[in-house]
């Protein structure tokens, strides 16, 4: 092999860039400059690495992923608490006579609850919701609590965090629509 200082051989066609002196199994090589945009891309990503690392690992200005999500979750929690406070027995019974709530609740029930409680609410893996037996309390707010927080020992998942207060109350309205409200609640039925 020749030393790199040796003059390169003539190009195959005039006006072309010079070729490297060596050929490998007939393969020749130019030695063209690196494209500027390519070099700039490379340099920019290196600069980005330095800046990103400094900001997230060294500056003290960023919060960790854990702290960040804990903050977000606290906000979510506060919103849910505020929303949940609005429901009492009377308002839930009232919702159960409202076709909009009941229809919305039926859709969620069929997608989420029917696999254990059956689409006709007669029960299966989970207990029946149309009989008069209420294991965890017969008041609508007590039922709301069961749906929201679940009964983990019996395999009832906590649906509150997944469905959110609106969908949970709709489901409850759907369940209650299968029952008669107590006589002392004077509810206007359509």
């Amino acid at each position: 092999m020749k030393s790199p200082d040796a003059p390169p051989p003539a190009s195959p066609t005039p006006g072309e860039d010079p070729l490297r002196p060596h050929t490998y199994d007939g393969i020749q090589e130019y030695d063209k400059r690196l494209p500027n945009w390519w070099l700039l891309t490379f340099y920019a990503t290196i600069v980005f690495w330095i800046g990103y690392w400094m900001y997230f690992q060294q500056s003290g200005l960023s919060t960790s992923d854990g702290a960040k999500i804990d903050q977000h979750l606290a906000q979510v929690e506060a919103q849910k608490l505020a929303a949940n406070a609005a429901f009492d027995d009377a308002s839930l019974w009232k919702m159960s006579r409202n076709a909009v709530f009941v229809d919305a609740g039926r859709a969620t029930f069929n997608a989420t609850c029917a696999s254990c409680h059956h689409a006709t609410l007669i029960g299966g893996i989970g207990p029946s919701l149309v009989d008069a037996v209420w294991v965890h309390g017969a008041q609508p707010t007590q039922m709301l609590k069961v749906v929201n927080e679940g009964v983990l020992t019996k395999g009832m998942p906590a649906w509150g965090p997944i469905l959110g207060p609106r969908k949970v109350s709709e489901v409850l309205a759907f369940i209650l629509s299968h029952h008669t409200p107590p006589a002392d609640l004077a509810l206007a039925t359509k």
Binding site: P4, D25, Y30, L163
Partner: protein
């Protein structure tokens, strides 16, 4: 003997063998791919048979395509081009044959064991330990055969293709061995030595760099040989080859943690993974540029030559995939795309576009030369090209749409971000059904293209006379001592010293703590300035040194190894050596009971991780859907870790206790009974198979060796523990009229599933893992 002219006949027989194997296993791998894609659409195609379920066949598909199809293609290309580039016959016909038949035996063993459920439970590293040893041995045979050939070369200087082959051989050996370290519990089963976050880090260091050094670097080498040959044009730029080779092999290794963004992986590793992935963009595109720009002056040939069509499209797909990769590594993009079909689309634009088309171009170029007969039909090759291209585009477009759609739906919230917009996971799955069908059509078209190639191949070689290449060369005189690099000049020279200084100062800056940070930053800046100044004034010395490096194969290999080893050492060693007890944040797992461990082994055997993750990311939608985000300590004793990479079904990290035992009992027998619209296979055999309790005693001993804090238990203790826990589960099932014997596998699996997400709280000690 320097002037003596000798005649060399190349060993093209082994090239032909590998080429035919490529064709065969390519079709097998793609056929299994079409089958598993069909299973995602039509669950009945799981046939209720254990060895035909998605969870067992998907590993078969990935392993077949990577190791059987691309593996054989790589060996064919490497052996063909290396002999010609170094003007020497392969060193040993015996080793060449052993390599070929050994590799085929490994593939057959994999194709038998994977459907039978023998697996290590780590992606692309599923093969059981006896096969791992065979792979390592055959790889050594390949390495010896290759380097021995280099040692006998009659061409002193190493061409760029050979650089990439060297990087492939040493790096794959390193990755494969470290990620497959296991302790056997029987002839067919083992536990990986790493667990939890350590296993995750090692796995994706391997997984990502399997893509780099098995699917990319050898194929780049093949591109550098076959593309200029087919185009009959000089390679665009030698110095671009130099820069992109060294930056690629150095940077690639660091990028593995981008598979674990927003997870419980320590943050500094996530930041390294993301930033190095971005820095990888330019080095990858260096390869694409050198390929595409080599075609300058030959573009008109694309109209008539199917080989160049395939190569040009392959390099374009390579460029697209290597732009998409860094994009997906950005943490916020990854939050949308991870666990979704977008990732599946990304790997297929690489596998179908880059690997598959490079293979096709290479095969069409080699066939006439290896069998001395023109290709049977150029028209059919063109048809293959267009079918394949349309197939890829359909596939990739479907997966982009699917991934982004499902990602957006899963992450969508309403009511001020406090509630999931689509709480039912199956709503998101059923929305992407049309895209899953389109991907099946795209993949099917691609397979048809390959079948056409197989037909073309058979028609071309039938009755043809195989021919081996020959060459007349001057036997080379030894390279003069003063041209080769000695040990000192290998390590002490401007490029290496400045690179080492830069890396060293960068590490001091990143990990040095408050005082040393400044030292590292200034040291790094000064090294960079000095390097630029030195190169500006004495650049010819740098170039001259690299020319000398090219005639010194051993020095080249050593430096390549140093470059690829650096990133892995810096990332993995700190995570592995810190005491396990410190590796946990504020929670720690308790070891699984014997029955739960048996259930976990069933979970791994059935390949549940192919569709279910066990990692709730630090993202509000993940937490709203699946529960509190996962902590490092919670999977501390998981050998192997099961964080997963794709959610075709929901995350299971906290599924324990979410439903009752009866729900799982009904669900595993008929997933659609509890989850209407699900595409999960049914698992009827879990209700008849008996749990393997006999092996548990030995398995617990191995777990204890891996520092899982199990109390001492005799075989009788194990038996008693299993029976007691199984009884509580069958009693619970009986209360809801679900009857089963306590010794059935379903009971063990329920024990494991109901245990997921349980942990003990401990005082946080995260400081140890911060750099």
């Amino acid at each position: 003997m320097s002037d003596q002219k000798i005649s060399i006949t190349y060993n093209d027989r082994v090239v032909r063998q590998f080429l035919l194997a490529t064709m065969l296993w390519g079709i097998v791998g793609m056929l299994v791919g079409v089958l598993v894609a069909s299973q995602l659409n039509f669950w009945r195609l799981n046939f209720n048979l254990p060895w035909l379920t998605f969870g067992r066949l998907r590993p078969l598909h990935t392993n077949a395509v990577i190791f059987a199809f691309v593996g054989n293609m790589m060996f064919a290309g490497v052996y063909y081009s290396t002999q010609r580039l170094v003007k020497a016959r392969l060193a040993s016909d015996f080793l060449s044959s052993l390599h070929f038949w050994g590799w085929q035996a490994i593939i057959v063993a994999a194709a038998i064991t994977l459907p039978l459920g023998f697996t290590r439970g780590k992606e692309y590293a599923e093969l059981i330990w006896p096969i791992n040893i065979a792979v390592a041995l055959i790889w050594v045979v390949f390495a010896v055969n290759f380097f021995w050939t280099l040692a006998r070369r009659n061409e002193p200087s190493l061409y760029v293709a050979i650089w990439f082959y060297i990087a492939t051989i040493i790096t794959v050996a390193m990755l494969y061995i470290v990620n497959h370290l296991s302790i056997p519990t029987s002839l067919l089963h083992s536990y990986p030595v790493f667990g939890g976050v350590q296993d995750a880090l090692v796995q994706w260091w391997y997984g990502h760099n399997a893509v780099a050094f098995f699917l990319t670097t050898p194929i780049l080498g093949i591109m550098y040989y076959f593309l200029p040959k087919a185009a009959e044009r000089p390679v665009y730029s030698y110095r671009l080859s130099v820069i992109h080779f060294w930056s690629l092999v150095f940077v690639y290794i660091w990028a593995g943690p981008h598979h674990l963004l927003n997870t419980a992986l320590p943050n500094w590793l996530q930041v390294l993974g993301m930033t190095f992935s971005l820095m990888l963009w330019a080095p990858s595109w260096g390869g694409m540029l050198n390929g595409l720009l080599t075609l300058r002056g030959a573009w008109h040939k694309l109209r008539t030559d199917p080989v160049l069509k395939f190569f040009a499209a392959a390099v374009t797909f390579y460029g697209m995939a290597t732009f998409e990769g860094p994009l997906l590594s950005i943490k916020s993009v990854n939050a949308l795309a991870h666990y979704s079909d977008w990732i599946i689309g990304h790997v297929h634009s690489g596998a179908l576009g880059w690997n598959g088309f490079m293979a096709a171009g290479m095969i069409y170029w080699l066939l006439p030369r290896l069998w001395n007969r023109p290709l049977h039909s150029v028209g059919l090759a063109n048809l293959h090209f267009w079918l394949g291209t349309v197939g890829i585009l359909l596939y990739v477009a479907a997966m982009w749409t699917s991934g982004i759609t499902q990602g957006l739906m899963l992450n969508a919230t309403t009511e001020g971000g406090s509630v999931l917009a689509y709480p039912n996971f199956l709503d998101t799955l059923n929305t992407i059904r049309p895209m899953m069908l389109m991907r099946l059509i795209g993949g099917g078209l691609y397979l048809v293209g390959f079948l056409i190639m197989a037909y073309n191949l058979v028609r071309t070689i039938r009755g043809a006379q195989p021919v081996d290449g020959t060459i007349e060369v001057f036997a080379r005189s030894a390279v003069p001592q003063e041209e080769r690099l000695g040990a000192a000049t290998t390590l002490f020279n401007p490029p290496v010293v400045f690179s080492a200084l830069g890396t060293l100062f960068a590490c001091v800056w990143m990990f040095g703590g408050p005082g040393l940070q400044i030292v590292g930053l200034f040291g790094g800046a000064i090294s960079a300035i000095l390097a630029v100044a030195h190169f500006a004034t004495r650049g010819t010395r740098w170039a001259g040194w690299h020319e000398r490096l090219l005639v010194s194969a051993a020095s080249f290999t050593v430096l390549t190894f140093v470059a690829v080893a650096a990133g892995g050492l810096i990332q993995i060693i700190p995570t592995v050596v810190v005491n396990k007890a410190q590796n946990m944040e504020d929670r720690i797992a308790t070891p699984y009971t014997p029955l739960e461990l048996a259930g976990r082994d069933i979970y791994v055997r059935e390949g549940c991780y192919n569709c279910h993750s066990q990692m709730i990311r630090t993202m509000v939608p993940d937490v709203l859907r699946y529960g509190d985000y996962s902590r490092m300590g919670e999977s501390l004793f998981d050998h192997p870790f099961q964080w997963g990479s794709r959610r075709s079904g929901p995350d299971l990290a906290r599924v324990g206790g979410k439903y009752n035992a009866a729900w799982h009992f009904v669900h595993m027998a008929d997933p659609r009974a509890t989850s209407p619209g699900s595409n999960m296979p049914a698992y009827p055999w879990l209700y008849t198979n008996r749990t393997d309790v006999a092996s548990l005693y030995g398995k617990l001993n191995v777990q204890r060796m891996l520092a899982v804090p199990y109390p001492a238990m005799s075989p009788a203790d194990v038996q008693a523990s299993v029976e007691a826990q199984a009884k509580t589960i069958t009693d619970e099932l009986k209360a809801t009229q679900q009857l089963t014997a306590p010794d059935r596998e379903i009971v063990a699996l329920i024990a494991y599933l109901q245990r997921l997400g349980k942990y003990e709280t401990v005082a946080p000690r995260t400081a140890a893992l911060q750099p």
